[in-house]
Symmetry: C2
Subunit: 458 residues, 2 copies
Amino acid sequence: MEQHVQQWLKDKRTAHLDELKEFLSIPSISALSEHKPHIKEAADWLAKNLQSAGFDHVQVMPTNGNPVVYADWLHAPNKPTVLIYGHYDVQPVDPIGLWDTPPFEPDIRDNKIFARGASDDKGQTFMHIKALEAILHTTGTLPLNIKFCIEGEEEVGSPNLDRFVEVNQNLLAADVLVISDTPMLDKGRPAICTGLRGLCGLQIDVKGPKSDQHSGLFGGAVQNPIHALVRLLDSMRDEEGHILIDGFYDQVIPITEEERAAYQFLQMDEEKVRQELEVPALFGEKGFSMLERTWVRPTLEVNGIYGGFQGEGIKTVLPSEAHAKITCRLVPDQEPDQIVELLRKHIQKHTPPGVTVQVTPFDKGYPFMTPIDHPAIQAASRAYEKAYGVAAAFTRMGGSIPIVATFNRLLHLPVVLMGFGLPNENFHAPNEHFHLENFDLGLLTLCHYWFELANTPV
Amino acid sequence: MEQHVQQWLKDKRTAHLDELKEFLSIPSISALSEHKPHIKEAADWLAKNLQSAGFDHVQVMPTNGNPVVYADWLHAPNKPTVLIYGHYDVQPVDPIGLWDTPPFEPDIRDNKIFARGASDDKGQTFMHIKALEAILHTTGTLPLNIKFCIEGEEEVGSPNLDRFVEVNQNLLAADVLVISDTPMLDKGRPAICTGLRGLCGLQIDVKGPKSDQHSGLFGGAVQNPIHALVRLLDSMRDEEGHILIDGFYDQVIPITEEERAAYQFLQMDEEKVRQELEVPALFGEKGFSMLERTWVRPTLEVNGIYGGFQGEGIKTVLPSEAHAKITCRLVPDQEPDQIVELLRKHIQKHTPPGVTVQVTPFDKGYPFMTPIDHPAIQAASRAYEKAYGVAAAFTRMGGSIPIVATFNRLLHLPVVLMGFGLPNENFHAPNEHFHLENFDLGLLTLCHYWFELANTPV
């Protein structure tokens, strides 16, 4: 890679961080409808940024939900075309009281930038634009063809992206899909992710008496919807988190000895994780390591529960309703639709007497795996080694990027997941941040990657 | 009873309801500290009302919490002295969205007055003042001596009343305690309550990882505090609501065949209750009727639960915390302190691995029973029959008035529980109301009672 690309990144560092702060200041929360105007603002901001970076055909393209930002640079004939996917929407910020600085007032301290979306995924999407801008402005050209597809509904399960990709197959056609939304192993330990868990889930609404009742007058004679919900949820997992839904594990591909060895080689420090999370003990299915539990095993988690009195002090109420939100992380070859059906059946079978239960499924995502020996992945590995000085590990990941499967299915292209976030950067939680060491080395890695990939037959 | 007392009540009906509306408009919620000014406003309002009704020594007496309103009329030598207890504080109003009219804008429709506190207990406390005022203004005197003790912390467990009663034993000394805060059996079916359940409870705070985590990255490897809480709560009751806390039933006095027959005689229409509550089925311990389940059996209810994401849509979080509030209704001879200890032990023994649990007890109340053949109770029975034309049933009640035991213990006086609310008047729930038929007949009953009791040696 040419020396003045590096110099440019160095010279522009402060300006880049100022731009990023501007982007992170927009509260583009896709889960809450009151933030619709900020979604538009973030999409427009991105379009302007892509334009000024030198991309062509910049468009904010409508969908049935939030818009997709598209841009391209296609002036490298006979060279591969890369589709870069990212998302400009972010998670909600509650509990807001636990943030040290406001989530939408980006703050740099300890060489980290703190803001909702700093790591997931505004920061990493922004890096892609800046890396390519650096090459374009210093060399006057790019070594390969680039297309951007940046959506605004990833954090709510990308309900409209499948349709968008289907309709725009020609526009999005490429040789490789690159996504930076997966974590590194640790500081100084880059990783290329070769597998993602899928996702499905549902809201469970339990209804008891028509209105809240006095627990003294009716307690003991009327089913309490919270107790009913508690019993229902407790029936879904055993004490080690093994899932008790009939047929849940039927399609799970068992872990191979080779995978087990590969993950043991990573020497995950479980005690360090335990200390960082400040829990008395880690937890999970017997016979599996922490990496195996989060990478190759499916899960079922209650993400939220609520019912009855939540205020200060005591209210002796027998509530009318109780609610829970659950999601399952899925692994190959579990089918999200099939798992939702199994959940429904379980709930129906285990609904306690005296209440009615309603179930509303959330959007779904397929689990996914990509072969380690693909040339586009090997090229990424070389790029990491040049920037970080160490080989990237090959990993899988516990999270879900549902659209990966969509791109693979509709555009038939391999996926390279090269993310720069650290595992403890609080994505989806208060005090989300992004370490600027990986902002700097990540920009370098991406620049190296485009030159490596330009000379790789994919 | 003299004819012009009745006439007075008739003539003053509209004025009385206007006064009551004024009283009900004050949002004197004791559970929420932001309502402190309204607590004071309600106490002052009562004092003014007692003053203008003709009582002496009207005082708003400070406690370590909310003040107690005291007043008396002691000009009937050689006649019994009655202590009337009531409370001017009310329950919180959430979920506010389910009220048809605002909780603190009293509205009369279908001959019912709708407001928080209409029935529990502002409406009934107010009736006591108006009944005595009617006698005093039409006859120029009262047939017996009266003391009022109206507190402002009943809905939060009366944390300061024990001390208040202890310090003011002489001031409050009386021959009979009368309280109107228990329900009738049904429209036209008055009841004198001879037993109350006690109360104890606690808040359970489950703490997992130090902050909310991404359910994809840590799900399956870190205990989810909601699952831990769900398991803990589910361990406390079986599927019929029978409580699984070791030793919980040890002190429960078994129901006698006589009581069972007395309650069967009441011919409780369980199907009607089921329909009114709009539940698919009633519920409870096998071998007990609904009345037995709510009157003579102890219970354990989750009054509130919360943790993780409660907003619109989905948030794939593994939450840091989960919380529940539970209360037990106790029956003679369960000791509240002892039951709290049993709960603590159970929680300690059943805390799932990977989380820590903190327990905070709420205030407690003893269960209570009073003999049916006491002359003050028999006089009340005659008063009801004169006003309603039917004999009052003798019942017990599922709710708790913790201070009843306090009065009994410190002042050594029998308690007459003669309430005028209907069981479906939504105390503690949205759309609380009070039927005006019982406002009218209740005023008459109380007037009759004072004349009956004046001629009864107690």
